[in-house]
């Protein structure tokens, strides 16, 4: 089982993930249309590129956009969850070690205590987001099964990862569950809202260009967020 999950299945997962997400980006860009979107893509590139980058970057900086300023708690949950799901896996000793064994390449890793702390924080954030989905009427009304799937799968990957790092003997159950769930996430990514892994950047770049090229980029104060 372990052999299969870390062998062929891993390759299939990565292939679906990277090819699938690349296809989503390609289809997104292919589907843009200057006249339908009413944005002169390809013109005023200096402003377009600058606003696209700003539009992405601002939202990756705490307290930068007005939304994060107004919603500090949600902002905190957002950053904690995404740090746990994106940065921790990339710089986790156990992950980097596997890659080093396979390909002989490696890079600096997080100290164990920090990786643990960030993972716990991410799990707490995911639970808080789940509570939010139930407790706040304005979030409850728009929540769908799809949203629960995305949130619970993320939480499950974090939790099984954490337990597999801290299991007290007793076989590979947590490790196997962690790998299987993480692969499920990778495979689901192109076909579900996990596609925001790439489409977040596409969408933010597009609205940035919309404002930069058309809606005041030539006149305004350089930002509307």
């Amino acid at each position: 089982m372990y052999q299969f999950l870390t062998g062929p299945m891993l390759w299939i997962s990565f292939a679906v993930f990277f090819v699938g997400l690349a296809a989503r980006v390609y289809l997104y860009i292919k589907g843009l249309h200057w006249q339908m979107d009413r944005v002169a893509y390809g013109h005023f590139n200096d402003r377009g590129v600058k606003w696209a980058l700003k539009s992405i970057l601002f939202w990756l900086i705490p307290f930068k956009p007005m939304c994060w300023q107004k919603k500090p708690i949600f902002q905190t949950l957002f950053f904690l969850l995404h740090i746990g799901l994106v940065l921790v896996p990339l710089f986790l000793y156990a992950h980097v070690m596997l890659i080093e064994q396979a390909w002989g390449v490696s890079w600096p890793t997080l100290p164990g205590w920090l990786a643990d702390a960030l993972t716990i924080a991410a799990m707490v954030a995911a639970v808080m987001m789940a509570v939010r989905r139930v407790a706040l009427p304005e979030v409850r009304i728009i929540t769908t099964l799809h949203d629960w799937f995305v949130l619970l799968l993320s939480l499950a990957v974090l939790a099984t990862g954490f337990f597999s790092a801290h299991q007290q003997g007793g076989g590979d159950v947590w490790v196997l569950a962690h790998i299987a769930l993480a692969e499920a996430l990778l495979i689901a990514a192109p076909f579900t809202k996990f596609s925001h892994i790439v489409l977040f950047f596409c969408s933010r770049a597009q609205i940035g260009m919309d404002y930069g090229i058309k809606r005041g980029g030539a006149k305004g104060r350089g930002i509307v967020w």
């Binding site: 979107d37 007005m66 919603k71």
Partner: protein, 467 residues
């Protein structure tokens, strides 16, 4: 497929049809017919296939349902935080549903979509600023309005409005002859006070081509006179076109994209005919949005630019004050607490926030400006934008929508609101009528006329201070 005589899928084609629709008081027959109107599902499916592209598809799909848009929406706030007013809900339950059902929806559903699209969203685009993914629901609601219009589900007043543009190339029944007569009349009226004042019509190669809102010649031509006086004082070489003088577009509010194009092209034709250095539009937000920001796309200009550079009236005023073409008498500056209404269409969506403040720095005595909170790009809609002001059947909802602006204005403690936008101006007027909070409201032109220093050579021989 049954269609009504007045309520149907065909836009107004001629004056006769327009008059017949106008004669239907408050759209009684029109809305009765709408109850029977069926959806052309094939047409809806085809429209979606041709126009629903990756941007909207992605927006609807990746919406994280985080609810950040809720508090950004003033209609959510004024409606006691009703979850059905959450922007994400509003678009997912309308456009989202049409897309999921691939256009397989019925008349009752489309009537619901119509209500949401015109009474629960003013297309102010504020939610797009607060969405982590940058999803602009105002833009999608505009698209949804287009789908509604193409199926005949559009508020009566806006079918008339877009019909006006189709028949008269103006939002009201003002013919080119009537327009020219109004210009001549206004110029003549001013001769005692402003000898030599002209409203030059169809002058070629002028520095400025001025365009306006049909309401001005139709209902308050003094606005046109004021524009002329200010250009006269500033010594501008300007003109108005006999055709293509109307800058507004109720067809944009209606989602009638074909009429939008016809209207914008009329103005661009005037630019090409008269070759002005640039166009200056009147104090109207959506007119600027329609003719300067969106219009070039309807007209098919790939760079998104109108044929000549176009500026909003506030930009012209700021420039005239900055360069000294208009000089303010410091003694006449506003010395009462005053606030400024940022119009969504050219502040949030065109970046002119600081231009407004520059003007205020000249015309308001220091210490008397009371900014609204939030303001500038983050300001709330006046409450009547996107056509909301003009739709009779949604008047109760519109009146409720005014409560946010009421609150904002009251919090400033200002007794006067400067609103260089027709829609905002109307909403604030209605707000005072409805809620009587003791404020006055004004465009910039009448304020400037009373404050500006008149050069000696422009004064009448027997100098006489105006009232």
């Amino acid at each position: 497929m049954p269609e009504g005589i007045l309520c149907n899928k065909t836009p107004i084609q001629n004056e006769e049809e327009l008059k017949r629709l106008l004669a239907d008081t408050r759209g009684r027959q029109y809305y009765a017919e709408m109850q029977e109107l069926e959806v052309d599902r094939d047409k809806l499916r085809t429209t979606l296939a041709n126009t629903f592209r990756s941007r909207f598809k992605t927006w609807l799909e990746i919406c994280a349902r985080c609810g950040m848009c809720a508090d950004s929406c003033f209609l959510y706030t004024v409606n006691q935080r009703d979850p059905k007013q959450v922007p994400s809900y509003k678009i997912q339950s309308t456009l989202g549903e049409i897309v999921r059902r691939k256009g397989d929806v019925d008349g009752a559903f489309m009537r619901h979509v119509m209500e949401v699209a015109w009474s629960q969203c003013t297309c102010c685009n504020r939610c797009g600023q607060y969405c982590p993914h940058g999803i602009d629901i105002g833009v999608m609601m505009g698209y949804t309005r287009g789908l509604c219009f193409s199926q005949g589900f559009v508020p009566w007043e806006l079918k008339i409005g877009s019909g006006m543009h189709r028949v008269y190339r103006a939002q009201m029944d003002v013919t080119p002859e009537e327009w020219v007569e109004t210009c001549e009349w206004m110029a003549e009226e001013q001769q005692d006070e402003w000898p030599g004042l002209e409203i030059p019509i169809d002058k070629e190669d002028a520095d400025i081509m001025y365009t306006c809102n049909a309401r001005e010649p139709k209902h308050y031509p003094e606005d046109l006179a004021e524009a002329a006086i200010l250009f006269h004082i500033a010594g501008e070489n300007w003109t108005v076109p006999s055709k293509g003088w109307e800058q507004t577009s109720l067809s944009m509010f209606a989602g009638d994209w074909e009429a939008c194009k016809l209207q914008a092209m009329e103005v661009y034709a005037a630019m090409e005919r008269l070759r002005p250095k640039r166009m200056v539009g009147t104090e109207c937000g959506h007119a600027h949005r329609a003719t300067v920001i969106e219009g070039p796309y309807w007209a098919g200009y790939r760079d998104g630019q109108p044929p000549v550079p176009c500026i909003h009236y506030v930009e012209w005023v700021a420039e005239a004050l900055r360069t000294g073409k208009l000089k303010i008498d410091p003694a006449k500056r506003i010395k009462t607490p005053v606030t400024y209404q940022d119009s969504c269409n050219y502040i949030r969506n065109y970046g002119l926030a600081e231009i407004g403040r520059e003007i205020l720095s000249y015309i308001v005595e220091p210490g008397y400006l009371r900014e609204m909170a939030p303001n500038k790009e983050h300001n709330y809609c006046c409450g009547g934008g996107g056509g909301f002001n003009g739709i009779g059947m949604f008047r109760p909802q519109r009146n409720k929508a005014l409560l946010m602006k009421r609150e904002q204005i009251l919090n400033t403690g200002a007794s006067m609101v400067i609103a260089p936008c027709h829609n905002c101006w109307d909403a604030i007027r209605d707000l005072e009528e409805e809620y009587a909070i003791g404020i006055s409201w004004s465009f910039l032109k009448p304020l400037l006329i009373h404050m500006v220093e008149v050069p000696e050579h422009l004064k009448p021989k027997e100098e006489d201070e105006d009232e």
